[in-house]
Amino acid sequence: MKMVVKKNKYVCLLSMLAFLIILAAVFAPLLTGGVDPAASVLKDALKAPSAEHIFGTDKLGRDVFVRVIYGARISLSAAFLVVFLIFVLGTVLGVVAGYFGGWTDAVLMRTADMMVSFPGMVFAMAIAGILGPSIRNAVIAVALVSWTKYARLARSLVLKIRNRDYVAAAVVTGSKSSYILTTYMIPNVIPTMIVTAATDIGGMMLELAGLSFLGFGAKAPNPEWGLMLNEGRPFMQSAPWMMIGPGAAIFVVVVVFNLLGDALRDVLDVREE
């Protein structure tokens, strides 16, 4: 019991940090004093970090700190959207395939096999690049290559309880499939799926930022962290601060969400015992 409380305190702390990050993204205009992240002031170009611009300015004189804060909006919403999409798609397809079996299952599992024997990043790059660089297309690409993991997991969880007596009883007493799915299967699957989703947020953020860095995601002048790193690269010699702020932002946010995901997983495992 003591363990649970201790772990929960840790989870609370991490949740608060995550919440703070989200708040920073939501209230970006307040936090940055209403400075427009896209407003270029050419006479201030490539200024080193100072009290006025704590992360320095970029080649167009835009404040890097302001852009980093606004970047949280893009990175967070894109990563959450990807995780949400693959969570819903994977859970629904996996549960259906696991419960009904047959050809639905066969088609789904062969597709999943194919995706596993495929380096995801290569495929995501190709899809995002060909669809045309935009953050929406990057989200589509990452979701397309990642959903099978969730489908497999949901399916295996369903198969575990599929032959339990209470499910058999429900079938025998004439419950509809839709009723069994929503009352027995989905609630059984959801906790594990949520934990997986939580641990994946950080990773998805990294993948999306990677795509943007390569030029297959967000487009200028959007303040996306991966894209900002890419823009900072040619100025490595003269303005290295251009890549410190965005990189540190990705790192910190990913650390917080990874820690939170791991902590949630630990806490839920304790309860299951």
């Binding site: 194919m114 380096p119 990043m121 290569v122 899809i127 860095f213 990189g247 990913v254």
Partner: protein
């Protein structure tokens, strides 16, 4: 029995490969707009309608999609992956040129990764919950969360710009140009792998034979290196195979940062230029290599562990 399983697995692989070729071919149909126009636009010319129609016909783009797919697949089977739009050279030759550098980069970064993660994981497992274990766990955590493109940029900033020890652009092909890209790739991988080594060794250390060996008074280092390590190696080999596969695909970012002349940077250029044959060739090649590695890992698994041959779970 063994041959039969292997045959079945091979058949499965062929089917998956066919599926992948299908997906790969149809990636290009995702593109908004017409490949011929995009091609001319990428080349910077504005052709008239007649030339566009002629080019379409010459490229076989007027045929039904499935016929095009069949034609492309037949070509691929014969080793003809088409002609790159941007380079006007056979795709196979272009990829072949870049295959070796990428392979070199992947293998060298895996070597670096093993050099770090095996000892680190071992220390963690043998000194569980010690200070070293906690420190290393923290480090692996940071390693996993660092974006590898940021690691690459920071390494470049420190070792190419501030202390000019290494070349900024790595197209020389000498050993020096291999170091920083490999370190970047090894960085995140080592973190992941250290965790795996730790888990695998801990699992073996809890086995009865270890207690037995200790009871017989065998020295701890002997137990660790002669008994535990070979057994823990098995799950690690699987993972190693998988990492090599994903590395081949994941080198793109690092290759771009360091201007390394590998398949990844070629692919990024191809995608940016809408060079469809080259993109298709790249995706197909990487997937096939990835599948072959997986197959080899599975086969080696049953070679290394005779029990697998009987149970046939892995093959």
């Amino acid at each position: 029995m063994y041959t039969k399983q292997l045959g079945k697995r091979l058949l499965q692989t062929v089917l998956v490969a066919l599926g992948i070729s299908f997906l790969t071919f149809f990636i290009t149909y995702l593109a908004p707009g017409d490949p011929v126009r995009t091609m001319f636009a990428a080349a910077g010319t504005m052709p008239d309608e007649e030339l566009i129609q002629e080019t379409r016909a010459a490229m076989g783009l007027n045929r039904p999609v499935l016929v095009q797919y069949a034609g492309w697949l037949c070509g691929c089977l014969k080793g003809d992956f088409g002609i790159s739009y941007a380079y006007h050279k056979p795709v196979a030759a272009l990829l072949m040129d870049r295959l070796w550098p990428t392979l070199k980069l992947s293998v060298f970064s895996m070597f670096l990764m093993l050099l770090v993660s095996v000892p680190a994981g071992m220390i963690q497992a043998t000194h569980k919950n010690s200070l070293a274990d906690h420190v290393l766990r923290g480090l692996t955590f940071f390693g996993v969360s660092m974006p590898n493109f940021w690691v690459g940029l920071l390494l470049m900033l420190v070792f190419c710009v501030r202390l000019p020890l290494f070349p900024v652009a790595s197209f020389g092909g000498d050993f020096k140009s291999l170091v920083l890209p490999s370190v970047t790739l090894a960085f995140a991988m080592s973190a992941k792998y250290t965790r795996q080594v730790r888990t695998a060794i801990l699992e073996e250390l809890s086995q009865d034979y270890v207690t037995g060996a200790r009871a017989r008074g065998i020295k701890e280092w002997k137990i660790l290196w002669l008994h535990v390590f070979p057994n823990a190696l098995l799950p690690l080999v699987t993972l190693l195979g998988l990492s090599l596969g994903s590395l081949l695909g994941g080198t793109a970012v690092v290759e771009v940062i360091f201007s390394y002349p590998g398949m990844g940077s070629l692919a990024v250029a191809a995608i940016t230029a809408y060079d469809y044959p080259l993109i298709q060739g790249y995706v197909l090649w990487i997937s096939l290599i990835y599948m072959l590695i997986n197959l080899a890992v599975d086969a080696s698994y049953s070679l290394a562990d005779p029990r697998m041959r009987q149970k046939g779970q892995r093959i």
